[in-house]
């Protein structure tokens, strides 16, 4: 499977690099509140993340579609309440079409039904806005670690069938 070969290359590349030369974690920020998300992006870049920002769900999906598979972000930080496509709708599509991308959802209110629905769909974590930068960095790093684990599991799983 071509997709598997890509995962393989990605996993091999990451495993062969020592921690200090590890490729920067890449995240995509999705939020319609531009001033907030642009500032957050600057702060994350100062912490050595590779950051892209888009301002609505459709743009987020178009962004993912236009990237080569190897360049897709490790994680997405996604606002729950947006006009047009809601955070949940974006989450559903990301989990369906780009499932390797881990999603961290930011929300201004703690509606339980939204949290439950997001868990069901496969959100990685749910954080409250305004978000503490160190907490967010911790969750992004964890999401990245989980993503690498899953990729490694896929690689070793497929060895037995090819």
């Amino acid at each position: 499977m071509a997709a598997t070969r890509v995962h393989q290359r990605l996993a091999e590349r990451r495993q062969s690099e020592s921690v200090s030369t590890r490729k920067d974690i890449k995240v995509l920020l999705v939020d319609d509140e531009q001033a907030f998300v642009d500032t957050l992006a600057m702060r994350l870049r100062m912490r050595n993340l590779e950051v892209d920002t888009v301002y609505d769900g459709s743009q987020a999906l178009a962004f993912l579609m236009d990237l080569p598979v190897e360049d897709e972000p490790d994680a997405m930080v996604l606002d729950l309440k947006m006009p047009d496509m809601s955070g949940l709708e974006v989450l559903r599509r990301v989990k369906k079409y780009y499932p390797r991308v881990e999603v961290i959802m930011l929300t201004g209110h703690g509606s339980d039904s939204d949290a439950d629905e997001a868990q069901r769909v496969g959100v990685f974590d749910f954080l409250k806005k305004p978000v503490d930068i160190d907490t967010l960095m911790g969750r992004i790093r964890e999401a990245h670690r989980v993503k690498l684990e899953k990729a490694a599991a896929r690689v070793s799983g497929d060895d037995s069938t090819t």
């Binding site: 509140e33 001033a35 907030f36 500032t39 957050l40 600057m42 702060r43 100062m46 912490r47 309440k81 947006m82 006009p83 047009d84 201004g108 209110h109 806005k129 305004p130 978000v131 930068i133």
Partner: protein
């Protein structure tokens, strides 16, 4: 029957207040989030900046931006505060344009989320009237809510006030495509016409989907 009407009205009123508070707190939280991130960024620049440290004028610009967000938040808080005080007395002297501007500011986020734009056309020289401003805001909100739910994205709702012979006319006119599946409005059980009648006002609906509330000029208390 009278009791049911009273109950429906009270339910509509509390739902309305709840909606305003929910929308307002969400918007305020967004402003605080921006302010928080800006402040955090300043800290980052100073402690992590290294080669990318900014000069004084750039820092000043950032701090001015924070001030601007604080002002936006305060403006919204002022609207909410005035809105809350409208419920202090059952009736009072008030400016229709002010009450409508307040309402528009408080519901603008709701329209934004549905990608419907709210335009204002406030007539000049509208006299102060004496009635229940909270009730007027409720009725206009009910009409607005109905329109939000029956129009599709990219539509426009125009809120207009004008003085017509002996009365103030407040009208809401929707323009755009109707939604595929209209949802029920918040006040579907409440009989807005009767609510208005109880304070001497009338409501008419036009063929283009617009609705107009008319309130006769009444002498301001003590006038």
């Amino acid at each position: 029957m009278e009791q049911n009407r009273e109950k429906d009205l009270r339910v509509a009123q509390t739902t309305f207040v709840g909606r305003i508070i929910a929308s307002f707190t969400h918007e305020l939280r967004n402003y605080l989030a921006i302010i928080g991130e800006s402040a955090g960024l300043q800290q980052d620049m100073i402690s992590l900046g290294g080669k990318s440290k900014l000069d004084a004028s750039e820092y000043l610009k950032f701090l001015k931006d924070i001030e601007a967000e604080v002002r936006r938040a305060l403006k919204l808080i002022t609207y909410l505060n005035r809105y809350a005080h409208r419920m202090d007395f059952e009736t009072s002297d008030f400016s229709v344009n002010e009450a409508m501007e307040e309402l528009a500011a408080l519901v603008s986020r709701l329209a934004y989320l549905k990608k419907i734009s709210l335009e204002r056309e406030f007539g000049p020289d509208i006299p102060i009237i004496h009635t229940s401003p909270a009730l007027i805001q409720l009725v206009v909100y009910c009409l607005f809510d109905q329109m939000l739910k029956s129009m599709s994205r990219n539509s426009t709702i125009t809120l207009k006030t004008e003085a017509v012979s002996g009365a103030v006319a407040i009208s809401l006119t929707p323009r755009g495509t109707p939604a595929e599946a209209a949802e029920e409005g918040m006040c579907s059980g409440t009989e807005l016409e009767q609510v208005l009648q109880s304070i001497g006002g009338t409501m008419t609906r036009q063929s283009d989907g617009a609705a107009t509330v008319q309130l006769p000029f009444t002498k301001p208390a003590g006038g």
